[in-house]
Symmetry: C2
Subunit: 371 residues, 2 copies
């Protein structure tokens, strides 16, 4: 476990459990609350590192399972680790492969020692357990490594959820004892499905083991919003206030705001990038399909008043055309805009927390939903 | 016809017919010899205008047929023309649709008045003749419009080539009388297949009509290299020295060098962009497949000594990985490098012409071929 001073709370919101924080890592400081774009295969889809930097991206995600399948960890290691491999100099958080226990359920077998995957590409076998996942993340050299957990599906009966928590805790204890990359932080992951007592017990036990930060996992796997929000509250309530909290895979802005109000500091989600590839634009007020016929000769930018490269130089009509004829530039411009919008959203949240106006900011989002 | 002063020859190579020139257009000056990246559908595939500018792109191509099909010329016109639509402020040359007479041969019917296309997308009918093609290019507002011609296939018997030349000339005369966009230049196109006398007659007759520049068309349609080079010589020999010459669709560097030595000033080709999407990298010395297994852990840049963004920040191993897992960034980086290589190639040619060392530069390419 690293120096707890790695995380510092700058301001606490008097009207909620929201906090404005700062997490120090070996590759730089992360101002929280923050949104982390997803770079599963070593690239935030369609974006260059220079573009990510220009819109203020502080940290990106990589995925241990996917990088182990392709190109293989040896290759990343030969290139000096994930940072030089990707050409990314700022912090990287790596997911352990625990989420693939859920998302690739048909291709894996769970045992007490870990999970045997069949590659989703060529059927090759890959065994990931707490020892293997931590070793791979050490070799990737990420700034924040996640413990190897079992992400259970939803719905999920109490017995199964209980077993998944037991495995997650046993594996977390092993993860906490593994060798790390220089300065690497390790976060525990709270599981427990929709069961309040299981989530609390899981969180308590993780805190006893002791981690540099704590994540809420097993959410955004198909459950309704009230179950999601309850899962967050159940998990976060037990966690020590002086460590960063990361909500995994949640990227609807009104949900992120509720999570922030409940004390969450970090988020990742494919929503801004994946929706861009489907032609959906995010604005300050919600989202809309740029591909819709009504924008075919619309000279306005994707979002009026936005100062990103896509909005300062191109029209909806042009981006709609590019998307319709499958030109890569269409996906690039919309991804850039959406990520810029999400980065600006988190910057606005941080400014509101700094200025003591988070309550009012949160209020404005009650009538807007990223649905 | 515009002021012939629009084209100026700065230096003539004493050892060949190569010339170092400068073409003035409404959106800026083009230093020749030059290479023009292809932006068929209003986008140079995978590139942003900012990136094209950064690598020194002087002029890009658009395609009248494809833009008429999607998004439709009305939409481009509503957006103020092709320059504002694409967010491109430098010169644009538009092809007339004549090449599609060849490339979409199964979807068109040729008559004396023009060509009836069936859309390659939805079967809708589009009629293009000299009147229509010039009107569309006027509405697109390109800096250089091409006459509507018939690009004949190869092989092609003398009778067919003769008929295609007759139509091309009749249409060229009509094109020359059409209204133009403000300051728009119009180039005639020499056809004639592999028949020396037909190419000469076609060029002579075009010069009688009088155009701002002249293109060599009907090449790079499958013929062997000696036929291609003869076609260039046959066409260019007859053209007035004080007008720019544009060789359509040829992009192998050793062929472009031979064409330059024969007095050609402008080139366009999909080679750097299309080959990038297939994983082929161009270097100063030739080309190689970045996807090959031997580069899987190669930490060197795509081309050593290259200062493009792709080469200054990323390895072959990384770009190979991105291409293998279908990440858009892989195509982006390789396209950027290849276009940068082609822009640098033309810059080197211009410098060699300025310095009087074109002969030596050309010599160095006799042992390298973009095959």
């Amino acid at each position: 476990m690293n120096d707890p001073g790695g995380f510092e709370i700058l301001t606490a919101d008097p009207g909620s459990r929201a906090r404005r924080g700062r997490l120090r890592t070996r590759h730089g400081t992360i101002e929280t609350p923050c949104f982390m774009p997803v770079g599963t295969q070593g690239s935030v889809k369609a974006m260059s590192p220079a573009e990510l930097e220009a819109i203020g991206t502080q940290v990106v995600l990589g995925n241990t399972y996917h990088l182990a399948i392709r190109p293989g960890i040896e290759i990343v290691e030969t290139c000096g680790g994930l940072h030089p491999f990707m050409g990314w100099t700022r912090p990287i958080l790596t997911d352990s492969g625990g989420y693939q226990v859920f998302s690739l359920a048909r291709l894996r077998t769970i045992t007490a020692r870990g999970v045997a995957f069949q590659s989703h590409i060529d059927g090759r076998r890959l065994f990931l357990g707490p020892v293997e996942a931590m070793a791979l993340q050490r070799r990737l050299g990420s700034d924040i490594a996640m413990v190897f957990d079992e992400c259970a599906p939803w719905p999920c009966d109490r017995d199964y959820a209980c077993q998944a928590v037991d495995k997650t805790l046993a594996w977390a204890a092993i993860c906490s004892e593994q060798e790390r990359a220089d300065g690497q932080l390790v976060f525990g992951i709270v599981q427990g499905g929709e069961y309040t007592d299981l989530r609390r017990q899981c969180a308590e036990r993780l805190v006893e083991i002791g981690f540099d930060g704590y994540a809420v996992g097993g959410v955004s796997v198909g459950e309704p919003e009230d179950v999601l929000l309850r899962g967050i509250r159940d998990s976060v309530g037990v966690l020590p206030p002086d460590r960063p909290r990361y909500l995994m895979g949640v990227g609807k802005r009104h949900q992120m705001l509720e999570a922030i109000a409940n004390g969450v500091d970090m988020f990742d989600c494919v929503i801004p990038t994946r929706y861009a590839r489907n032609g959906t634009a995010f604005t300050r007020r919600g989202r809309y399909p740029v591909k819709a016929g009504e924008y075919k000769d619309d000279k306005r930018p994707v979002e009026e008043g936005c100062d990103c490269y896509a909005c300062s130089r191109f029209s909806r009509a042009y981006i709609r055309h590019l998307l319709n004829v499958n030109e890569i530039l269409g996906i690039r411009l919309l991804t850039l805009h959406n990520l810029h919008r999400f980065m600006s959203f988190m910057q606005d949240v941080r400014q509101a927390l700094d200025a003591g106006s988070f309550g009012a900011y949160r209020e404005r989002w009650t009538e807007r939903k990223d649905e």
